[in-house]
């Protein structure tokens, strides 16, 4: 056994997604505590996961130790800061990744087709630890779709790290789809740096896993840098969704948006931790954060902690959160048109997801996701 793994297994209870500023302990929302997450061994992932296609001048490679990505991202190096669901999880990936990609988009190259990565975990390959490094040079544009799924039986374990370095005027779109079975664990850490006028857009679709713990950190260090997070979740059964977003505004006129929509059913639990942090110097920055939760059963639990931290006066920060049942007016209207209650509810929930699902650039994935939500709502 190696050191990192021993260290990982050391603690019985893992502390994950800790808030940037903590609050009362009796609420038990400062962090997520997960017990008994231990790995007996590290396994390889042997299936191919990059879709074959022509990436033009963009370099897309399986992550391996021979790559020397550091040459391209020196500029960002002294800015490295803590990120991720927790240090022990990210350390494990950095040292012992078994998959992942390295993407390098050269200057002025705009790739219209998305780069598609697919992981399908099963009993032979139950573990994915992917390290993804994405470097977009000046004025380039790329889109990535990463899809995590499992077969029905496997007790899969996914622990990933994705790092994005978006240089001046570049655009990086990353779509993360998680539809693992309800025996599996999903941990995903993300960090992005946006250069001058660069844009990083995240799209997160959370449908599966028993425990899904995700963390997104965006550093808006340069002027006009921008980051957007659009996420949807659907949690039923005993699922546990833990979302953590942090926007660090340092650059002038930097922009951030967080919009999360989701529905909770059965005994599902959700914690939303979204932070807009306006550091000193982030003059004329704008941040917006919205979270809407639809609660479908008595037994659900929904926590929201939308933080606003501010050390600069010339900013506009806003957050809004709302939670409740489906709007009774909408329900009444649809039922007066002949739909029964269940159908009407289904329609309203699907409609709230639609704008975000529509942003997925691959039709087959759009259909898979819509069908999955449809099927699970029907089983209600």
């Amino acid at each position: 056994m190696n050191n990192t793994l021993t260290k990982f297994n050391e603690k019985d209870s893992k502390t994950l997604n800790t808030l940037p500023v903590i609050t009362w302990r009796w609420l038990k929302v400062n962090e997520l505590n997960l017990k008994d997450i231990k790995l007996s061994d590290l396994q390889d992932y042997t299936k191919p996961y990059i879709n074959e296609m022509d990436f033009k001048d963009v370099i897309v490679k399986n992550m391996n130790s021979k790559l020397k990505p550091n040459e391209n991202i020196k500029y960002f190096f002294n800015k490295e800061e803590s990120y991720g669901v927790s240090e022990e999880f990210t350390a494990l990936v950095e040292k012992h990744y078994n998959s992942g990609i390295y993407v390098h988009a050269p200057k002025n190259v705009k790739l219209t087709e998305p780069i598609r990565i697919e992981y399908n975990m099963d009993n032979e390959n139950p573990m994915v630890m992917d390290l993804n490094l994405i470097v977009a040079e000046e004025n380039s544009e790329i889109t990535l779709v990463i899809d995590y799924s499992t077969d029905e039986k496997a007790e899969a374990f996914h622990n990933g790290v994705t790092k994005i370095y978006a240089k001046d005027n570049s655009v990086v779109n990353v779509i993360k789809i998680q539809r693992m079975n309800d025996k599996s664990y999903h941990f995903d850490s993300h960090i992005a740096y946006s250069g001058y006028n660069a844009k990083v857009n995240w799209l997160q679709i959370e449908l599966g896993a028993k425990n899904s713990v995700t963390n997104y950190v965006n550093n808006l260090d340069e002027e006009n840098s921008e980051a957007n997070i659009n996420s949807i979740y659907f949690a039923d059964g005993d699922r546990n969704v833990d979302l953590s977003y942090l926007m660090n505004h340092r650059g002038r006129r930097s922009i951030s948006n967080i919009e999360t929509r989701g529905a909770l059913k059965d005994k599902a639990k959700k914690v939303f931790r979204g932070t807009l942090d306006f550091k000193k110097g982030a003059v004329s920055s704008k941040g917006n954060e919205e979270e809407y939760a639809i609660l479908l059963d008595k037994t659900v639990k929904s926590d929201a902690i939308p933080l606003l931290l501010c050390r600069e006066d010339d900013v506009q920060g806003q957050h809004a959160a709302s939670a409740g049942q489906i709007d009774s007016n909408k329900l009444f209207y649809l039922m007066s048109r002949g739909l029964d209650e269940k159908e009407a509810k289904k329609l309203i929930i699907e409609a709230s997801y639609a704008p975000i699902i529509d942003k997925i650039p691959l039709e087959d994935l759009r259909n898979i996701i819509s069908e999955e939500i449809h099927r699970r709502l029907l089983n209600a």
Partner: protein, 471 residues
């Protein structure tokens, strides 16, 4: 890329006027600095307390010694408990008439407007100078209706059964370190009992003032509003500035019974060396209503989160608060609401302003218990930053364990918009006045909830505070 950075001028804080008047202090009794069982027993003995209270104090002290200070919130390392005199008794006995109060103390309260407030129709006035209540009066007709308004020491003597039943059951000493400290060394404060169905139409008022350097004020306010009764209680606080850090760890316990209404208004203007670690909590029964109106202006560090526990069906809570943090101030304020019964509603409206390096923070919690269906709650927080050396954070938690709820939360942060200033200036108003106007408008929803003299006081405070910032 060079952009013109907006220029700002800073003017020093103004003299706080009457709030900074300090008196020489001579006392009949003063406990040693620091905290030991002996001091606690001494305090209890000095007050001629019944045995159960002495035991309660000692038990609280034990809890205090075993609890750590909270890991979250403002830095409390400068607060050295061993230097804080827990109990200071002014050199005067309780007086029933204002004339009998010693000249010096009287003068201070006169300056603060206490008897003036009484003359202008407040129903009763209690004033606390350091740790003891020095003056207490209540209108006769209220006495006839059975309303009790007195200091806590008298209450223990005359209404022992009631006090024993309620004392620190709402805020148990085990709640947090400073509640335990309060349980051990509490002194003074007000006791109000409003019998069933009695409507007290004019507000009762008490004023706390801390004069001795390095002293602590640990007043206990216990208010019981019986079935269908109604009360408005006003609390004011101030202290002159000394260079030693002072501590205020008071405790307010409010019991709002079935169908009763209680409004609790506070203007806190402690001097800027004060650690204000106050615990306020209300338990509201069926159909009851608690309204908090809270203004935090003074103190060096504040940790103040009035809590409402909505225990009975259809109980309601309203919170309106304004926090103004200036130079050297860290005001961590907010409010906690627990919906523990069906059909309960709550409404939180908080505003904060920070300037000159001050830290204004909203920390909130909204919890809906699993059995509490048909709950409605809204939380709105707005923060205004007047410069970029200050800090303003919003830390709300929304914790839902039931689906039949309707919850809304929103928060905004920013500065005064240029458009608004431009508009007002285009109408012939100077820039300075335009900014002041906008700030006054910003806190207006809170100002109008306050009784007149407090609204005037708040406006004065904002004026004093703003003179330094705008320009």
């Amino acid at each position: 890329m060079e952009e013109k950075v907006r220029k700002k001028t800073y003017i020093d804080d103004l003299d706080r006027g009457i709030y900074d008047v300090k008196n020489d202090f001579n006392y009949s009794f003063k406990a040693d600095s620091g905290l030991t069982p002996e001091i606690v027993m001494e305090i209890s003995k000095e007050k001629n307390e019944p045995q159960w209270m002495t035991d309660f104090r000692l038990k609280s002290l034990e809890i205090y010694n075993n609890l750590a200070a909270p890991p979250w919130g403002p830095d409390l390392t400068d607060l050295h408990m061993e230097n804080i005199v827990t109990y200071v008794k002014p050199n005067t006995e309780m007086k029933g008439k204002w004339e009998d109060v010693p000249e010096e103390i009287k003068k201070t309260f006169d300056l603060l407007g206490i008897p003036k407030a009484e003359r202008t129709s407040l129903a009763g006035v209690g004033a606390q100078y350091d740790s003891e209540v020095v003056y207490h009066s209540i209108k006769e007709d209220l006495v006839k209706m059975g309303v009790v308004y007195t200091d806590m020491e008298t209450a223990i003597r005359d209404y022992e059964a009631i006090v024993k039943e309620y004392f620190m059951t709402c805020v148990p000493p085990s709640d947090h370190k400073f509640a335990a400290l309060h349980g051990a060394v509490w002194s003074g404060g007000s006791f109000v009992y409003v019998p069933e169905g009695v409507q007290v139409d004019i507000p009762l008022q008490s004023y706390f003032r801390l004069n001795a350097p390095g002293a602590g004020q640990f007043e206990h306010t216990l208010i019981i509003v019986e079935k269908g009764a109604k009360l408005h209680f006003i609390e004011g606080c101030s202290a002159p500035k000394y260079n030693v850090n002072n501590l205020h760890a008071g405790c307010v316990e409010l019991f709002v019974k079935e169908g009763a209404r209680l409004r609790y208004s506070t203007i806190e203007n402690w001097s800027k060396n004060m650690y204000n670690l106050n615990t306020k909590r209300a338990i509201v029964e069926r159909d009851g209503l608690i309204e908090w109106v809270s203004g935090s202006f003074g103190s060096k560090v504040s940790m103040l989160y009035p809590m409402s526990i909505l225990k009975g069906e259809r109980a309601r809570a309203e919170f309106t608060g304004v926090t103004f943090a200036g130079k050297g101030q860290h005001l961590d304020t907010g409010c906690k609401i627990v919906h523990a019964a069906p059909y309960t509603t709550s409404n939180v409206n908080s505003k904060s302003i920070s300037k000159d390096g001050g830290v204004a923070l909203y920390r909130g919690a909204l919890r809906v218990a699993p059995n509490a269906h048909h709950v409605k709650a809204t939380v709105a927080c707005e923060s205004l930053m007047l410069d970029n050396i200050s800090r303003s954070d919003t830390i709300p938690v929304i914790d839902l364990m039931n689906d039949e709820v309707d919850i809304g939360h929103e928060a905004k942060i920013g500065r005064i918009s240029d458009e608004a200033i431009f508009y007002l200036m285009s109408r012939g108003i100077s820039e300075k006045e335009a900014k002041a106007m906008i700030v006054r408008g910003f806190v207006e929803p809170i100002a109008k909830e306050l009784p007149l003299e407090y609204a005037v006081e708040m406006n004065n405070l904002i004026k004093i505070e703003l003179e330094g910032a705008i320009g």
